[in-house]
């Protein structure tokens, strides 16, 4: 009997120690996505090559979960949107969108366009979302609990719509204005929609070609990245648009070769990533570079050149997370690189699946 007591006590002690371990879920109800006790934030990375969504705990990046979307060659995910504990991942050429329950890491359901390419998405509310169709030039509205899987409520917008930003009572759809060969027809266009009725409220040109990314600043303005055609050598630019009036408030050039992802933190610092240079840091308040094209934030190679960056995200502490796609031809592995706030010193690299593209950081 004494032995049994002793064994029970040892077991309870072990369980107590394990319970205090930082790797365990902070909130048992949320499980893995509650993060660690020290850091409840979760990184979400879209793996376009693995065709999956990877989740990692910022407090313990070795702890990861992966949600596969299916290996079909038409599954080409590059973006995601998150609201509450749900995520939407447009699956590109599959013309389909995956709705994911993040605490259980399960795909709840898929929504489909009849054809085309699902590229951008944004939640309007906890139950409504918008998805852009890059090829068929429209935006669709879906309800998460709708009866069928097909997205039927749509509105035409300018050609090649991608990123969608919802602010206030309107949705801003950024169109590349590309032809069927993905060549620019002209400057990019932002279309303002009523997200509930899908009524077009107005449009504005971005002043640059092939816009690939956009973000809302802490000042409430929309910052659009004009990437310019891939391989054209024309430096990218940023166009600043007032969402309510659709007036262009500014146009700044010199954002490097083919910039793409943009994130703006609460201090007004814009992080603009480019596949060929890394990440530029630009102050939206002063409209000056903190780290310009001649000194981007990047993980350098042995020869001093920069690894590129597909996208970036900033956590609550100002730590910068940057996705590096990897390069088979140069034998470079894909990573999420981590940079210290303020100094942007490289502090860590996280293996988060193959072909990491979009990244978000969330606390659930």
């Amino acid at each position: 009997m004494k032995t049994l007591y002793r064994s029970t006590a040892l077991l309870l002690s072990a369980l107590a120690v394990a319970a205090c371990n930082g790797d365990d879920p902070f909130d048992p109800q949320l499980g893995f996505v509650s993060g660690t006790r020290d850091n409840p934030q979760i990184g979400l990375v879209v793996n376009s090559t693995d065709k999956a969504l990877t989740l990692f705990q910022l407090g313990n990046p070795a702890e990861k979960r992966q949600i596969p979307f299916g290996a079909s060659t038409v599954v080409t995910p590059v973006g995601l949107s998150v609201r509450g504990t749900q995520a939407l991942v447009p699956l590109g050429n599959a013309a389909s969108v995956a709705l994911i329950d993040l605490p259980t890491q399960r795909i709840t359901r898929f929504f489909q366009f009849p054809k085309g390419n699902a590229t951008g998405s944004a939640f309007v509310s906890d139950t409504v979302a918008l998805v852009s169709n890059l090829i068929d030039d429209y935006v669709g509205r879906l309800t998460l609990g709708q009866a069928g899987n097909v997205i039927t409520q749509t509105v035409n917008v300018a050609p090649a719509p991608g990123t969608i930003i919802v602010t206030g009572n309107r949705a801003l759809v950024v169109s590349g204005n590309l032809d069927e060969n993905f060549k620019p027809l002209g400057n990019g266009v932002v279309t303002a929609l009523d997200p509930n009725t899908l009524q077009v409220l107005g449009t504005v040109q971005t002043g640059g070609r092939n816009p690939q990314g956009a973000a809302l600043g802490s000042d409430g303005l929309l910052y659009v990245i004009n990437s310019e055609p891939f391989g054209s050598g024309v430096p990218g630019s940023v166009t600043i648009i007032d969402p309510s009036t659709l007036q262009v408030r500014g146009h700044i050039s010199g954002f490097g070769d083919f910039p793409g992802g943009i994130t703006i933190d609460r201090n007004g610092l814009a992080y603009v990533s480019g596949f060929n240079f890394g990440t530029l840091v630009w102050n939206t308040k002063t409209r000056t570079f903190v780290r310009g094209p001649d000194n981007p934030v990047c993980a350098k190679l042995a020869d001093g050149s920069c690894r590129g960056a597909f996208d970036n995200a900033v956590d609550a502490n100002g730590t910068l997370y940057q996705t590096f796609f990897g390069s088979r031809s140069k034998n470079l592995n894909p990573y999420v690189f981590v940079y210290a706030p303020g100094t942007f010193a490289l502090t860590d690299s996280i293996a988060a699946g193959a072909g990491p593209t979009a990244i978000e950081i969330q606390r659930f």
Binding site: S48, D50, A52, A71, T73, A95, N149, F182
Partner: protein, 732 residues
């Protein structure tokens, strides 16, 4: 003085030779060939009745039996798919007797005919006409899919494109030759086996491993030799087939043969037509909405015709052949993003003239061939991308010459090939080449020796190739060795091989989703090492067992693999790959137990990336494949059950995510043979995917579920003359 010395030496040698003759018991040497074609029959069994002496014919049909008793012997020669021939032969001490045997193809699939492949002494697998007919296969891919180490990847149901991989290779690393002319697409380097219907085919041989030393570029993982039929006599044949998914097919053949003095003339014509609607149901993946749907735009229709004739006089034969093919089919694409209007049309016309003969110990062959091929692809409303209307035109002309010298038990052969190919395609970028010249020369030898009852052979080979699209010549050596007796053979070989990049790899017109890579280098297997053990005719109670096991290592330097970049633009690149594995196969027959036959294969192919950024199995290469077959006769009906297993495959870089699951499929066939006088035939009912499984070799390109087919074959037996034993001109 000198002359006298030489004369003396000659006399001395002559006496010596005579003395040596008197010292050894009778020998029997010879060659086994197919009547009509004159092609060697590797693996044919030659045995002396009542003596227990037996051997198997080598790759060139040659055989050698020692230690015979002097006097009249009865020699029996048999091979699967051929009528057994029994001959009286007179033997003498100190004499080597030559026996040429031409076996008649056994066109009637009698009960108990083994529908199994025979592996020859060179490690090849050969399927003859009888086996092709009995297999029930519609086209080449169905015939090959049960062979050890061979993986056939079909893009859906019957009539859809099908490509072949051997030992984990890419499809463009397997050379497919139709009567010696490459079938591999000049654009992609891959051979579409669905364009090789079987009615006109007489024999198929599968050579595994690095074969560039004989066949040049693309023969990196193996070669498939397809030979068209020849007439065995006056014959008539017809076949009808109907099955699920709107399948209909018909074939006719007629042949004749005439002996006019010393001249033998024969001719054969075949025509074949088939179509399939292809509208089978399939499970829609969740990403595509789930549920079930019907495959659309998966129809196919095709025809082909062959006319061949030969004239043989004395030791020389001239043969001419014309083959034509046309097909038209839908290209439905992925089930997630189906292409409702994509179509492909293809036609091919080719011909050849060859002359062959032998004089003394030498045999020679000269072949001229020419052909043209056109393929058109169009889709006016693709699911993504822009409408297209593309065309590929290829014209080729080639010449080859070879000579073989039979030097006692040794063989020395050499040959050369020249080919000029012109092509035009709207699918290639501006600046792409419009022609190509290939020049190759090869030599092979076989040195044989008998040591303590074990037959030893050394097989050296060397080939040099020059391709005008590559900037240098390629040297491909190979050295093989074997040793064995009547029931076993052990083989080992080392060799190198190469496969050039295809035009699509280098010059594909850059589009929205693809980008060629003009800087690709040819793929190389710098050293393939292979060892094998073959066991023949083992008697285990009432069963006769044949088995073979082969293991290999054949790393690939710069395997060309396509993968998407960050913009989902697919481009090819060279990757170093470790490749090793083994193939095992076994066959058992129990003639006394309802003519039961059992066959099984199991193959393992580890094909792993060897780069800093990628590791593990190369995508879409199953590590494990297996097949099994059992057949028996019951109440006059031949019942056959077969199964195929394909292991799971990796489809993305991550080894754990999005794997394509393994599948096991079962097929069944009931066949009733009949004959009445000179006429015969069979009625066959077959079921594919008997258990109604969901399966696919490529993601989103599902196979049909359970399907049925009924086929009937009618034939009038070829009328033949008996084939007398002949003596070689150098027989004493």
């Amino acid at each position: 003085m000198m002359l006298r010395s030489l004369r003396f030496l000659f006399l001395l040698l002559a006496c010596g030779v005579h003395a040596l003759h008197a010292q050894f018991p009778p020998e029997l040497r010879g060659r086994v060939t197919e009547r009509g074609s004159g092609a060697p029959i590797p693996g044919a069994v030659v045995e002396v009745a009542g003596s227990g002496l037996r051997t198997a014919a080598t790759a060139d049909g040659g055989f050698h039996l020692r230690g015979l008793l002097p006097g009249e012997q009865e020699v029996r020669v048999r091979a699967f798919g051929y009528r057994t021939s029994t001959r009286p032969v007179q033997t003498e001490n100190g004499r080597s007797t030559w026996l040429s045997v031409a076996l008649e193809p056994e066109a009637v699939a009698l009960e108990g005919i083994r529908v199994t492949a025979v592996r020859s002494e060179t490690g090849a697998t050969t399927l003859n006409r009888a086996e092709i007919e009995t297999s029930g296969a519609r086209e080449l891919s169905e015939l090959l899919r049960d062979q050890a180490g061979v993986v056939v990847t079909r893009r859906g149901g019957p009539g859809s494109p099908a490509h072949v991989s051997i030992r984990g290779s890419s499809a463009d690393e397997v050379l497919v030759l139709l009567d010696g002319v490459p079938v591999n697409s000049l654009l992609t380097g891959e051979a579409d086996l669905s364009t090789i219907p079987l009615e006109a085919v007489g024999r198929v041989t599968v050579l595994r491993g690095a074969q560039s030393a004989r066949y040049g570029g693309r023969a990196m993982a193996g070669v498939i030799l397809v030979e068209t039929r020849r007439s065995a006599g006056t014959e008539l044949g017809a076949r009808l087939r109907a099955g699920s998914w709107g399948e209909l097919g018909a074939a006719l053949s007629a042949g004749t043969r005439a002996d006019v003095g010393r001249t033998v003339l024969d001719g054969l014509a075949t025509a074949e037509w088939q179509q399939v609607a292809g509208d089978f149901p399939y499970a829609v993946p969740a990403v595509g909405g789930g549920g079930e749907s019907i495959r659309r735009n998966a129809d196919a229709a095709g025809w082909n015709g062959l006319a061949t004739g030969s004239l043989r006089r004395g030791e020389t034969e001239v043969r001419a052949r014309v083959e034509a093919l046309g097909l038209e089919r839908g290209m439905p694409g992925s089930i997630v993003r189906s292409a409702a209007t994509a179509r492909q049309a293809q036609d091919r016309l080719s011909g050849s003239v060859s002359a062959a003969g032998h004089r003394g110990v030498a045999e020679w062959t000269v072949t001229l061939d020419a052909g043209r091929q056109r393929a058109a692809y169009h889709d006016h409303a693709p699911p993504f991308g822009v409408p297209y209307d593309d065309e590929v035109k290829v014209g080729s002309a080639g010449a080859s010459v070879s000579a073989t010298a039979l030097l006692g038990a040794n063989v020395l052969a050499a040959g050369a090939e020249v080919r000029r190919i012109g092509f035009a395609s709207t699918m290639l970028a501006e600046g792409a080449p419009d022609g190509q010249a290939l020049i190759g020369a090869w030599t092979q030898g076989r040195l044989s020796r008998e040591v303590s009852g074990i037959h030893l052979e050394i097989l050296p080979g060397l080939r040099v190739d020059h391709n005008t699209l590559l900037d240098r010549a390629f040297l491909s050596p190979r050295l093989g060795a074997s040793g064995g007796a009547s029931r076993w053979t052990v083989r080992a070989s080392v060799g190198s091989a190469y496969s050039p990049p295809s035009l699509a790899d280098q010059f594909f017109q850059e589009g929205v989703m693809v980008r060629p890579n003009p800087n690709l280098r040819p793929e190389r297997v710098r050293m393939e090492v292979e060892g094998s053990l073959e066991l023949r005719d083992l008697l285990l109670g009432p069963a006769r067992l044949d088995a073979e096991f082969a293991a290999y290592r054949a790393d690939v330097d710069g395997m060309i693999l396509w993968s998407p970049d960050h913009r989902f633009v697919w481009a090819p690149d060279n990757f170093d790959v470790h490749r090793s594995g083994w193939d095992a196969s076994a066959r058992a027959s129990l003639p006394a137990l309802r003519s039961t036959e059992l066959q099984a294969t199991l193959s393992r192919a580890a094909v792993e990336y060897d780069t800093p950024v990628l590791s593990g199995q190369v995508i879409y290469r199953p590590r494990w494949t297996a097949s099994g077959r059992a057949a028996a006769s019951l109440l006059g009906v031949r019942t056959e059950i077969s199964t195929r297993y394909v292991g799971e495959r990796r489809t993305v870089e991550n080894p754990r995510l999005n794997r394509l699951p393994s599948h096991t499929l079962f097929d069944a066939r009931l066949t009733r043979h009949w004959s009445a006088g000179a006429w015969g035939g069979e009625l066959s009912l077959s079921a594919e995917n008997l258990l109604d499984r969901d399966a696919a070799m490529l993601l989103d390109y599902p196979y049909p579920r359970r399907s049925w087919a009924l086929s009937a074959r009618l034939r009038r037996e070829p009328r033949r003359a008996s084939a007398p034993a002949t003596r070689s001109p150098h027989d004493p």
